[in-house]
């Protein structure tokens, strides 16, 4: 070590501070930080963005050429182009305010609705309680539930001939008078005791 040159206290302090706080990073730490930063730059597609711009420019030229050709031939206007091309040209033309027919979009989705076996909705008979109003209840539809159709087999009642008994007479039957009982006065709760 050479003889110590007299340093300004601040200069000496700065050197010491740097020596104490700044140190070479471990290789694995460098690798981890580089991977994280590289992924962040890559995931945002900063590099890819340039490619997209170039691709987009090329696409514009191709689109313009295709559009011109298609319009000139009236192909796009009549919607006779293959679906993807027709849709693409219609999209491009929309930007300049030209509306061309678009092919129908077919959704290749065929979702089977599962059936729920063994679900039966029982008949419910509500007893009538005087003075109580039962609100109308709507039974929600259970999605996917099917009520199996029940067919009642036809029943044939066999015709039975009544044998004639010689000498027998059927006495005249009188139906007794039926008296309808008087309905007692019904008081509706909350109506002030008036007869409805």
């Amino acid at each position: 070590m050479t003889a110590g040159r007299q340093l300004d206290p601040l200069e000496a302090w700065a050197k010491e501070l740097r020596a104490e706080t700044v140190s070479v990073l471990a290789p694995d730490r460098v690798a981890r930080a580089a991977a994280a930063a590289g992924a962040a730059a890559g995931s945002l597609g900063v590099g890819a963005a340039a490619t997209v711009v170039v691709t987009h420019s090329v696409a514009k030229v191709i689109a313009a050429a295709a559009l011109t050709a298609a319009l000139a031939g009236g192909a796009a206007a009549t919607g006779v182009l293959p679906d993807p091309i027709q849709r693409w040209i219609a999209d491009v033309a929309d930007h300049v305010g030209i509306h061309l027919p678009r092919p129908e979009v077919e959704l290749p989705i065929d979702l089977p609705v599962p059936t729920v076996p063994g679900v039966t909705v029982p008949d419910v008979t509500l007893p009538s309680v005087p003075g109580v109003t039962v609100p109308e209840v709507t039974i929600p539809t259970v999605p996917g539930a099917t009520v199996p159709e029940t067919t009642i087999p036809e029943t044939t009642i066999p015709q039975t001939p009544v044998p004639t008994i010689p000498g027998a007479t059927v006495p005249e039957t009188t139906i007794p008078e039926v008296t309808i009982p008087t309905i007692p006065e019904v008081t509706v709760p909350g109506s002030g005791g008036q007869t409805p």
């Binding site: 200069e11 000496a12 010491e16 104490e20 700044v22 590289g38 730059a41």
Partner: protein, 204 residues
């Protein structure tokens, strides 16, 4: 008084570690997510970023370094300039992250007592030893902004204009802060007995 700030490059000089890219090419490749370019950037800027964070009292300086570089990577599309501009820009991100960490500390999570590790982590021990050093303790006489200005000058090696851009103040204002901070530091160092021996150690 002028603090001579040496080159902050910590790039290995061995043939194996020699930078593969020129400064501009490195940034251009980093923009595309090239990990080798980022490795060179980490080797170059990382140590001073960690040093800045450490001197600023950040508990996890290497994590902060990585966060800063990831943030820089995410915004690299908007950066324009040369290598020096790049370094200054990265430190402006570091400054903001340090300020944000102190402004919004993470909420403490209550753990069951059995899960609480009361022992110091190795990182805490290192930070504590650095914080205990005289050089770092001397910074206590400075206000926060004075400390930031001095550290960005001394550790990051930024010039006054770059520091002004990083901390979002005018160049004249930064110059005033710096002059005041250095005067306070000098007074403190003299009071502590720093005589300016070769390696900055206190004369016995």
């Amino acid at each position: 008084m002028a603090i001579v700030v040496e080159s902050t490059s910590m790039r290995p000089r061995s043939p194996a570690g020699r930078p593969q890219y020129g400064d501009l090419e490195r940034v251009a490749r980093a923009r595309q997510g090239d990990e080798r370019a980022w490795a060179e950037i980490v080797r170059d800027v990382g140590p001073t970023l960690v040093g800045f964070a450490r001197a600023r009292g950040v508990g996890d300086p290497e994590d902060l370094m990585q966060d800063v570089l990831v943030a820089a990577a995410a915004r690299l599309g908007s950066f324009e300039g040369n290598w020096r501009d790049f370094r200054a820009w990265v430190f402006s991100i570091a400054y903001r992250q340090v300020v944000n960490r102190y402004r919004a500390p993470e909420p403490a999570t209550d753990l069951p007592e059995i899960l609480v590790d009361t022992a110091d982590s190795p990182e805490d021990q290192v930070v504590r030893s650095v914080m205990a050093s005289e050089a770092v303790q001397a910074l206590d006489v400075l206000t926060e902004v004075e400390r930031d200005v001095v550290l960005l000058r001394v550790i990051a090696g930024l010039d006054t204009g770059e520091v002004a851009a990083a901390v979002g103040r005018g160049r004249g204002n930064v110059r005033v802060i710096q002059t005041r901070a250095l005067a306070k530091l000098r007074e403190e160092l003299v009071r502590r007995g720093y005589t300016g021996s070769d390696h900055g150690r206190r004369a016995e």
